[in-house]
Symmetry: C2
Subunit: 357 residues, 2 copies
């Protein structure tokens, strides 16, 4: 296993539990996208036009989450911060609400569970919402988990099952000698494999409810606010995640403009956030692919090398299905039909030799 993020550790856990000998190579496990992510498990709110194959995989993986969370909690002894209150999708202005409704109609067409709500219904569910919010919808199946609990939980479960971490960098794939090598290296995947996985910058904030208590709201809130998109994720321990920009940039700067836009939109939706502590501002990089979908399967021209990367904005929700299907592929040698839309060969041959930099 090359890469010790959530996807890498989840595959390591599943493989080790099946009795395979597993080594995870990562010089800085947990330093990538995994611990920057907000942890929304949102197959419905993330179901966008033209991404039906991806939506199918999101729905499948989200359906596996409850059992996955229970099994992982038992195996690791770690509370994952898994919450099932669901997600409110709201619009602040009339234009914002029109966008929420347009997307909601599409999501309903796909048969996904989403219910339109009037302002009064929204506020019954979440009294902390600003009075000016015009309306929205409820996605009861869009849950959340805390990635900063998930990563150590996966690592603990994998290590208890026998997986071993080697905290040194892997410069070339032929440095790793094993019957099967899985590359789950996030943004580092491109350099190792030649696949078109690029970093997509995201800026994200972490707030904390004052006084040490939980936030004054329980649902994940996704908002369209004067044309800006923002999400607000409340944790039971008082943390509130506000995110996130999507930028085609590779600089690691946290910018004043991004923080301003995120805070403005979040406070416009949930005014009490103005009184919350701002405890962290972070820029991270999601591993993105040309079609926004992950790349999971055999690496062309490299027998024994599998890839599980390119999860972009969906790494946390896609962790269970990725781990299950890659583990099946490692043990049986045959890819599940669900993986057909996500094979590495869909982008044509890798642009650089997969043996070196």
């Amino acid at each position: 296993m090359v890469g010790g993020g959530v996807v890498g550790w989840a595959i390591a856990w599943r493989c080790a539990a099946r009795g395979l000998t597993v080594t995870v190579h990562d010089p800085a496990s947990g330093s990538g996208a995994s611990t920057v992510a907000a942890g929304m498990l949102a197959p419905v709110a993330e179901a966008y036009f033209g991404e039906t194959a991806l939506t199918g995989l999101l729905v499948e993986s989200a359906a596996r989450w409850p059992a996955f969370a229970a099994e992982l909690t038992a195996a690791s002894g770690v509370d994952l911060g898994y919450r099932t209150e669901g997600t409110l999708i709201v619009g602040r202005t009339g234009d914002d609400l029109a966008e929420v409704r347009r997307l909601g109609a599409y999501q309903r067409e796909l048969g996904l569970p989403i219910t339109a709500l009037r302002p009064s219904g929204l506020r019954d569910r979440e009294p902390a919402l600003a009075p000016r919010v015009r309306g929205g919808a409820f996605a009861p199946g869009d849950h959340q988990v805390d990635p900063r609990r998930l990563l150590p939980a996966l690592r603990a479960a994998a290590e208890r099952a026998g997986a071993v971490l080697v905290d040194a960098p892997v410069g070339r794939l032929d440095e790793v000698v094993a019957p099967a090598v899985v590359v789950a290296a996030g943004c580092g995947t491109a350099a190792l494999t030649g696949l078109p996985v690029r970093p997509v910058k995201g800026q994200i904030l972490r707030l904390r409810a004052p006084g040490g208590g939980p936030p004054g709201f329980r649902h994940v809130v996704r908002g369209y606010v004067d044309g800006e998109q923002v999400y607000v994720v409340p944790r039971a321990d008082g943390e509130v995640v506000v995110g996130a920009t999507v930028e085609e940039r590779t600089d690691p700067a946290v910018t004043a403009g991004a923080v301003l836009r995120l805070l403005r939109a979040a406070v416009d939706l949930l005014p009490e956030l103005a009184e919350y502590d701002l405890v962290e501002t972070t820029a991270g990089f999601r591993p993105g692919t040309p079609d926004n979908a992950p790349v999971v399967g055999a690496l062309p021209g490299r027998p024994g090398v599998l890839v599980a990367s390119g999860h972009h904005r969906h790494g946390i929700v896609l962790t269970p299905v990725t781990a299950d299907l890659v583990t099946d592929l490692v043990t049986t040698g045959t890819p599940d039909a669900m993986l057909a839309p996500f094979t590495p060969d869909r982008f044509g041959p890798p642009t650089r030799p997969a043996t070196g930099r």
Copy 2:
């Protein structure tokens, strides 16, 4: 000397340079208001109604700054980041501009150097200002210095002149044995002296111009923006300070609402700031007094104990005059007439014994 902030080290420098033996007691020199401050030397823009005595002292100390800066730079070898481009005071809306003009008229009445500017004149001076800024004024004598350079410069000059730092806390004044004890302990002054010096919370941001260059504007900009006050201080090294809230609170939290208000007002004045890195968010505490003016002079009932504290929002600009007048007082025993409005006894007897906690 009890207290190793800018006021303490400046007095220590001046006293040591006169041949006195000086010990500075501070367990964490530089951890107080000194290194949170923006460093505006703004006697004009800070001349508010009803504070004429304070305004006089601000003007006097600002007049001493050029020579003080030159002398300190020579004595310490440290570049202070002292800049003399002056300050623009601007209003974004008609209401904001009315406030700028009302205060400007008062400042002109006092004979202070301030010139009204039309929008075209403002933008000639500072093209980076937002087109929507309605108008303002120019205060050519309101300069700036970098407090994070000033503090080490003062300490270096003081230590070269023979002053010695003892980095242990002082719990009671009688732990310090010296012919003259000067309490320049900022917010710690109340516990040591019983004087009514209270912490006034300020939240402040530090941005940095992208690419490592200097900011795209040269003047300090003080703005009234939809009723909010904000200042923006550009440094030659690329840092931009945006401040500051004034809050009667003692919690050290950086809040989402404060960061939002500061960023929104700053970006409304200088749109390019949206592209700047947000590198620091800080909450600090100014030592405030009941009349907002410093408390400088002999502590009632405690022979040999002097106080130089309560500088509130004006510690950096008041450093030269405070150091000069306290040094005179220590060496001659007679207070300068300028100190008459600022004596510790103006608040009545200290409320707690000055000998203990």
